[in-house]
Assembly symmetry: C2
Amino acid sequence: MNAIRTMVLSLVVLFTNLAGAAAGEPRGTGDLGIVIERASGSLAIVEWSGRRVLGRVEGLGDLSHASAVFSRDQRYAYVFGRDGGLTKVDLLEMKIAKRVVQGGNSIGGAISDDGTLIAVSNYEPGGVKVFDAVTLDLVADIPAAYGPKGALSKTVGLVDAPGRRFVFSLYDAGEIWIADFSQGPNPQLTRFAGIGSQPYDGLITGDGRHYIAGLFGEDGLSHLDLWAGKPEPRRILEGYGRGEEKLPVYKMPHLEGWALAGGRFILPEVGHHELIAMDAATFAEAGRVAVHGQPVFAVARPDGRQVWVNFAHPLNDTVQVVDVPSLKIIHEFKPGPAVLHMEFTPRGDEVWISVRDADKVEIYDTRTFAKRGELKIAKPSGIFFTARATRIGL
Amino acid sequence: MNAIRTMVLSLVVLFTNLAGAAAGEPRGTGDLGIVIERASGSLAIVEWSGRRVLGRVEGLGDLSHASAVFSRDQRYAYVFGRDGGLTKVDLLEMKIAKRVVQGGNSIGGAISDDGTLIAVSNYEPGGVKVFDAVTLDLVADIPAAYGPKGALSKTVGLVDAPGRRFVFSLYDAGEIWIADFSQGPNPQLTRFAGIGSQPYDGLITGDGRHYIAGLFGEDGLSHLDLWAGKPEPRRILEGYGRGEEKLPVYKMPHLEGWALAGGRFILPEVGHHELIAMDAATFAEAGRVAVHGQPVFAVARPDGRQVWVNFAHPLNDTVQVVDVPSLKIIHEFKPGPAVLHMEFTPRGDEVWISVRDADKVEIYDTRTFAKRGELKIAKPSGIFFTARATRIGL
C-alpha cells in the first residue's frame, strides 16, 4: 500500500509541475522585444512595459550588425546574423525554434507584408534568398547577377513593400531590384540600372510608397516612387556636400533609421557632421542641422515630433534630440561609452538606448528626458520590439 | 486495490486535462482581434493570420455602437458598451477579466500612450471617467460642466494624445478639452470654447498632432494643432456644403475612420453623397469624390493608397474603394445586407468586413479584391485587431 501511496503522490507532484512548467503564466507578446548581445552571439528577451529582462537565448552565431523582424503573431523573432545565419527565436519559450546558415556573409532582411516570406540580403554570394516563415525552407534564390559577365553584386537596403514584394539595391552594380512574389514562389523581377554609384543602404517610407537608396560613391540619393504606373529611378539631393571637405567615414549611417517626420525626411549625411532635411513632397532640401559628430542613426519618435541621433566613434557617447518643426537641438546627454542603437516604445513615450561598453541598456522618458530604468545586458547593440511586425518597411 | 488503481487513473486524466486546459499551446497575441456581436452582448475572438474564430465571450451588456482598445501586451481588450459598461476581456483565456458599469450612457474610449489609463466618454452623466488599466479602479472623474449653470455636456470624439493626455469634445457646449495626466492622477484641464456648433465626433492624426472635430450644427470642422506653443481652435472647410441641398441623415459618419492618406485627409461629408479631400498641410479643400450613398466609414488601407467606404441605410449593402492619388473609385461590390465595419490587417494585405444581416464576416485581398475567407459570426458589427495597441489615436 505504501508503494502505491508513494506512486500517487509522485504523480500528483509530477503533473502539478508539468502544468506549471508547460503553461507558465499565459502572456501577451505585444510588449516583448530582443536586445542583441553581439560579443556572445546571444540575445536578451525583454518586456518593455515592465522594463525588465525575461531571459536569454544563446547560440546565434556572429551577431555583428545583426537585425531582426517579427512574425505576425509577434511570437517569433527572425534574427539576421553577419555570418549568414538566419535564426527563428521563440520569444515565449525562450529558445531557438529553427536556424539555418543560408549564406557566407549577409546583412539584413525583411518579412513580406502577409508574413509568409523571410528575405535575406547577402554579400557573399551576392544576392537575396527567400525562405518560408514557418519552416525556413528555401523558397527562392535570387542571384544579383549584373553586367556582361554576370558577376554577383553585394545586395543592400533590403525592405518589404506592400503586395508581397521585396526591394533591394546592388552595391557593385548601381541597380535597384523589385522581387514581386504576388503570383507565387517564383518572383517577377523588375530591374533599374544606373541608379547611382555604390548604393550602400536603403529605406522605404511607412506608406510603402518611396524607396530611397543612399549612395556612397557620390553625394546624393536615388529615389523610386513605387506608386507610379511605371516607376523610374531619379537622383535627389544631388551634390548635397558640394564644396565642403568630406570627413573620413568611420561608420556608415544607417538608412533604416532615417526619419520621416512632420512632412520632412531627416537624413544623416555621409562624411559630414550634419543632418539634412528634405521636403517629403518635393524631395528638395528643406534645411540642415549641425550635430555633434557623424550621425549613425537619426530615428523619429513614433509621433514624428522629435528625432534622436547617435554618432560614430570616437564621439559615440552622446545622444542629441532634434525638435522637428524648428530643426533645433533641444536636448543633449551622454548615456555612456558606445551608444549603438535606440528603439522607441510603439507609441513613443519611452526610448531604450544600448550603451555597449557600459554593458547596459538605459530607458528614458521622451518628454521629460528623465531616466526611467536601466538593465544590465552584456555588450548590447540592436534593440528590436515586436511592434515592428505591424509596420511596413521595418 | 481496484479503488486505488481507479484513483491513480483518475488523477492521471485530471492532471493531463489541467495541463492542456491551463496551458493550451503558448501563443502570440499580435494576430488576435475581436468582433462585436451586438445582438447577443457577446464577442468573437478571432485570429486574422489564420482567418478563424478561436472562441466567444458572453455577458458584455449592450454593445450597440461598441468599440475597443487594447493593452500594451496585446492580451486584453477594453470594450466600451453603450450602457456604460467597461469590460476588460482576456483574449488568451477567453473570459471577462473585469467589468464595471461606469456610466448610464456612454460612447467610446481611449487608452493613454503609456498604457496605464483607460478613459471613457459619457453622455449620461456628461463627462469623461478615467480608470486604472490593470484594476479598472476609478482614477479621475471629469464632469463636462459648462455655462453659468454648470450643465453637463455629452462628451464625444475622445482620443489619446502623446504625453498621457486625452482630448475630447463637448457636444452641447461646443468646446474641446484636453485632460493632461502627465503629472499624475489629477489631470490638468485645458478648455477651448466656441469651437463650433455641436461637435459630434473627433479624430486625432496618427502623429498625435492634429485634433479635428466634426460639426453637426454647421457645415465645417474645428481644428486644433497640439504641436503649437499655444494651441488655438480654428474653423476649417467652412460651409463645404453651401448651396447644396442637405439630405436627411440616417446615420452619422464616424470620424475615427477618417483617412489621412497621401498627404490628404479623405472625409465623409454629413448629409451628402460625397467624400471631401482636404490638404493635410493647409487644410484647404483638395477635391471631392461622388460616392454611392451617405458614407459612414472612410478608412485608409494602412499604406494610404486606398480608402474603403461603406454607407448608411438603405444603401448599406455596398462597399466602394477609392484610389487616393487619382481620387477615382476603382472597385465596387456588394458583400451583403448591412455592411457595418471594416478592419485592415496591420500591414494592409487583407480587410475584414462585417455583414450584419448575413451573420458573417468576409475577408478580402486588398490588391486583387478576391475573397479570401468567410466566417460565420452572429450579427457582427465592429471589428478590432490588437495591432491598434501600437498606434496613436486608435
